[in-house]
């Protein structure tokens, strides 16, 4: 964090950041689990968790303890090293993007000038983890889930890239900070509503969230790629999923919703984080809302959606944007 920049060695700064980021990832997962369960309950006219703590507030902590305390079952005939590696691999790439996310003007660990590309590159590693998990489990259901997930990630990375490029074209930068600063006048969602919708849909698919949760489609594949995982192995996937959701939503916020911009508060360089988180969690709310409303799409429909609708639209959108930009510059 920038606060710590007066400390001479960069190392300390890095360590502090790492600790802050990892604890944020865990905190986010806890908040999200609680929010998801509570919201799911209320969407279905149930109260959700109620028993542990007031309104079930401590439920998440208890669940976490339970997961930590559980035996790590290693089924017979699994590929041991890979089976162990997969949850870690699912967790690490979702932590790295937090390094470049500008929570507010000054709350950013490092402002890479290729921040956007960095995030996209790192988050596609996630598909790898799922594939390894599915493959090493030696379970047909897991393998199905993994294969689906990989195909899905590849298909949906294209529209995401195209949309991101469109926005980068407008801001003329790949730096996340630069992108936000470019929106100080007007948020890009107003200029690029189509791009935003495409990004959001593709983001849902990218994070394997319902209605695109094919890789863990419960009614078809029991639990998909993490069928064989228990205890912490399972919860790392879980943490990864929520962190990934957060990353996708924060990119949406940075690209379209003006990042930390909002009604000015005192110490805006730092308090912008309030607006940033508000926007991110609003998007996350929509994600949860979608999950508890829609049925799951079928695999071929998922592919159709990407190739027949999202990619053409984002391509056309990209070209139009480019032409308009050229004309405006002239």
């Amino acid at each position: 964090m920038e606060i710590t920049s007066f400390l001479p060695p960069d190392i300390i700064r890095m360590i502090v950041s790492a600790v802050v980021i990892i604890s944020f990832v865990f905190l986010n997962a806890m908040v999200m689990t609680y929010a998801e369960r509570k919201l799911a309950g209320h969407f279905q006219r149930r109260p959700g968790p109620m028993e542990v703590g007031s309104h079930g507030l401590l439920q998440v902590i208890v669940d976490g303890l339970k997961l930590i305390g559980k035996q790590l079952i290693l089924p017979k005939d699994v590929d041991r090293p890979l089976f162990r590696l997969a949850p870690l691999l699912a967790f690490i790439p979702v932590v790295l993007p937090f390094i470049v996310i500008p929570f507010s003007e000054k709350l950013q660990v490092a402002d890479l000038n290729i921040g956007l590309i960095f995030i996209l590159a790192i988050s596609s590693l996630n598909g790898m983890a799922v594939l390894i998990a599915g493959w090493s489990s030696n379970n047909k259901y897991s393998l199905f889930g993994a294969l689906r997930s990989v195909a899905q990630n590849i298909a949906y990375e294209i529209p995401i890239l195209l949309v991101v490029l469109t926005v980068a074209l407008m801001a003329n930068t790949f730096s996340l900070k630069g992108l936000v600063e470019a929106q100080s006048g007007m948020w890009f969602i107003l200029l690029q509503p189509v791009a935003f919708i495409i990004y959001f849909i593709a983001g849902l698919a990218e994070t394997n969230r319902a209605p695109f949760d094919l890789s863990e489609a419960e009614s078809e594949l029991t639990a998909g790629f993490h069928t064989e995982y228990s205890g912490m192995g399972f919860s790392l996937f879980f943490l990864g999923e929520y962190a990934n959701m957060f990353v996708v939503c924060s990119i949406a916020t940075i690209l379209f919703l003006g990042g930390w911009h909002g009604i000015p508060l005192p110490f805006l360089e730092y308090t912008g984080v309030f607006w940033f988180l508000l926007k991110v969690y609003a998007l996350l709310f929509v994600m949860i809302w979608c999950r508890w409303t829609y049925p799951r799409v079928r695999f071929d429909q998922l592919m159709n959606l990407a190739w027949k609708y999202l990619i053409p639209f984002s391509l056309v959108n990209f070209i139009i944007t480019a032409i308009v930009l050229v004309i405006v510059k002239l």
Binding site: R45, N138, E218, S219, E220, T293, P295, R296, V297, R298
Partner: protein, 371 residues
């Protein structure tokens, strides 16, 4: 992948679905021959919950078999009760007072709505939507409360008796039923908005698992599946039993025989059931609720049969008597068994996800199949 085998043309493998699987609803096992995500040959395996109900029926006096009937199809127990008491009444020539018949119709139809509601939720759950089941359970709970009021149970009813019903209905029951009809009518629009018009749902269900009228006839498919295929066949209309001929109701039919049609048919059936209940409540005659029936029912020699329309299709009881109290032979034709038998033909060359949709749209109740 241990069981991977090489066939001449392609690499296919066996996937074992069930008996513990979220979408086989109970203990059905389906052994799938798969090629990638495509199902080549689904083979249902039955018998995990066989309890030899038919044999029990042949070893005890017919009154003592009554509680068993409610346990074959626990989701829709009253029509199973109805079929059996109807059979005994027909075989032994027992008169049923009109009030009892009306009560039977009202409660059976309530049970049918409850069963369809449960199916609606479970079907959507199979498709990956978690919320509709909670709404439909909310509605179903109202029916269970109403039925509990007079039958004393919430699931495995044993309410009908040869010659009538166990006890009379109360004013509270009638009020509750009328309130429920009103409530349910307002709820249909929610399901319409949340499910029936939803593009994802339509895409998932439309054209999936098309049962042609010919195929339906060949396999003896009945109930909403048959009606979804466009054949208007409903025992309540075709050979009206009880007092169904007194009521004015339609038999909804589909056009294409796909999962979407089956969904529509069932939802419309719920509306029709509400209509029947309403008419029955209006016309409810006074009189005894239990007619004269001997304590020991002697079944005269010869055979008799009785069919009713259960929520899943035609339920037929067939009985051979030999003059004693105990049936010589009892055969129960349950709808889900024939309905499930289409699966191997229907499930060839489809996606795994579609197989789940199809099985969901069949509304299978495994204990009924295994008996």
């Amino acid at each position: 992948m241990k069981s991977e085998t090489n066939t001449q043309q392609n690499q296919s493998f066996t996937l074992n679905m069930g008996p513990q699987h979220p979408s086989t609803h109970g203990v059905l096992q389906v052994i799938l021959e798969m090629d990638g995500e495509y199902v080549l040959d689904p083979q249902p395996v039955l018998g995990y919950i066989h309890r030899m109900h038919e044999k029990m029926g042949e070893s005890r006096p017919c009154r003592k078999f009554l509680p068993n009937t409610g346990r074959m199809d626990y989701v829709c127990a009253l029509p199973f009760n109805h079929g059996y008491v109807g059979l005994i009444e027909r075989a032994a020539g027992i008169e049923v007072p009109p009030r009892a018949e009306y009560i039977r119709v009202i409660t059976s139809e309530l049970n049918r709505v409850a069963s369809h509601l449960l199916w609606l939720g479970a079907f959507l759950l199979d498709l990956g939507a978690f919320t509709p089941i909670m709404y439909s359970f909310d509605d179903r709970e109202q029916i269970l409360d109403i039925l509990e009021e007079i039958t004393g149970s919430r699931l495995t009813y044993c309410y009908f008796r040869p010659g009538g019903v166990y006890q009379d209905i109360s004013d509270k029951f009638i009020e509750g039923t009328r309130a429920f009809i009103k409530r349910m009518r307002s709820r249909f629009s929610i399901y319409e908005k949340l499910v029936a018009t939803n593009i994802i749902f339509i895409k998932r269900a439309e054209g999936v698992g098309v049962i042609s009228p010919d195929m339906a006839r060949r396999y003896g498919v009945t109930g909403p599946l048959l009606r979804g295929s466009g054949i208007s066949y409903d025992i309540r209309k075709q050979e009206p039993y009880s007092v169904y001929s007194d009521f004015d109701f339609d038999v909804p039919v589909g056009e294409n025989g796909d999962s979407l049609d089956r969904y529509k048919v069932r939802v419309q059936e719920m509306e029709q059931s509400l209509r029947i209940i309403e008419q029955a409540l209006d016309k409810l005659p006074e009189g005894p609720y239990l007619g004269k029936a001997p304590k020991k029912i002697k079944l005269p020699p010869g055979d008799s049969s009785f069919s009713v329309e259960a929520a899943r299709g035609e339920l037929a009881y067939y009985l051979v008597g030999d003059g004693s109290e105990i049936p010589y032979r009892l055969k129960i034709r349950v709808p889900s068994y024939s309905n499930l038998s289409v699966l191997p033909e229907l499930g060839r060359g489809i996606l795994l996800a579609d197989l789940v949709t199809i099985m969901g749209s069949f509304d299978l109740v495994i204990p009924e199949i295994d008996r």
